[in-house]
């Protein structure tokens, strides 16, 4: 009943201000300090592993990532900040993890990594680290636009047994509380991320899964057209906000 009362109260408030606030800004000082401390942030382990994988021989006779792309600090600076991005060959936008797996299959004759594998999370975290502090700059290829709109539709669509949309919580109720949890605006500024709830690194898809599970709906597949569309929309909504790496969230 307390929850219900809280939510009723939150809904009674006027629509949220336009000002964008990131999940980082909403965290306690303790968690912000943990994220910023170079010896206290566990996400750094995945970045270090990603760095190792970057120059690792794939064992197929093909080059390592580094063999083709050189120093990630040069070639990959700003790349993660512009994903998802259009892929000519498949004729659709792909997310960063999807791009890494395309390089595995197309350019390394290797198997794609499992979406939830530490390898893929580590490489994605390492590449995202090369965009740390850079503004989110969504891919401006006009072919991504219909996908972005699809993402916006999905964001506004009521789903699940609770018949709630992402927008109802993240636009309308953002800044309010759900029980004791603060509802963020859902800006994807720091993914993959070390979520305390998971006690490990996880993807934006896993984060989506959690929210969709929360309203008792069926999550989509990581890397699916629906999730890439949602990410495209959220990245445009967050355009200009800076990439955090490695981000921590409760």
């Amino acid at each position: 009943m307390r929850l219900a009362a809280l939510l009723a109260l939150a809904l009674a408030l006027p629509a949220v201000a336009e000002e964008r606030v990131t999940g980082f800004e909403q965290m306690s000082e303790d968690l912000q300090a943990m994220q910023n401390d170079p010896v206290a942030n566990p996400g750094l382990f995945w970045i270090a592993d990603g760095e190792t994988l970057w120059s690792e021989d794939p064992g197929t006779g093909a080059d390592s990532c580094k063999g083709c792309h050189g120093d990630a600090s040069d070639s990959m600076a700003g790349v993660a900040a512009s994903y998802p991005a259009w892929d000519e060959e498949s004729g659709r936008p792909v997310d960063l993890a999807g791009r890494i797996n395309l390089c595995r299959t197309r350019h390394q004759d290797a198997e794609p990594f499992e979406r939830v594998s530490d390898e893929l999370l580590s490489l994605a975290a390492y590449l995202t680290h090369q965009s740390k502090g850079m503004p989110i700059t969504p891919d401006d290829d006009p072919r991504t636009d219909p996908w972005r709109e699809r993402g916006e539709d999905l964001f506004a669509r009521r789903i699940g047994q609770l018949n709630l949309s992402c927008a109802q919580c993240h636009d309308r109720l953002a800044g309010g509380h759900l029980g004791s949890a603060l509802i963020p605006q859902a800006h994807p500024t720091g993914y993959p991320q070390y979520r305390l709830e998971w006690e490990t690194m996880g993807s934006l898809a896993r984060r989506f899964d959690n929210c969709i599970f929360g309203v008792r709906a069926e999550p989509y597949e990581a890397g699916s057209e629906d999730y890439v569309s949602l990410e495209l929309y959220l990245k445009s909504r967050a355009a200009g906000l800076t990439i955090e790496s490695p981000a921590i969230r409760p």
């Binding site: 170079p38 010896v39 206290a40 942030n41 566990p42 750094l44 382990f45 270090a48 006690e199 490990t200």
Partner: protein
Amino acid sequence: MSALVNIPETAAPGEIVDIKVLLQHPMETGFRTGPDGKLVPRNIIHSLRCLYLSEEVFAAELFPAVTANPFFAFTLVAETTGEVEILWADDAGEEQRQSQTLTVG
């Protein structure tokens, strides 16, 4: 199991120096059920030790209540130039060690 260890490189004699350690470990409690519904066996780092000039100056005993990827901060008194060693061991029998020279003068 890797580690991030922060030990100052230099210190004055008698100075109290701060040591920070972050260890990569799931700290599996033994109270959690896996996807198959069975209890996941406990595997935690159960001990952490800090040796300086080959003698223990600080140690910690860990229980399942310590977070995944545990973090520790503590202090020691700089005496003379020598190794600061961090040693840790988990239930799976893995023992690890990382060390660094502390230059005192």
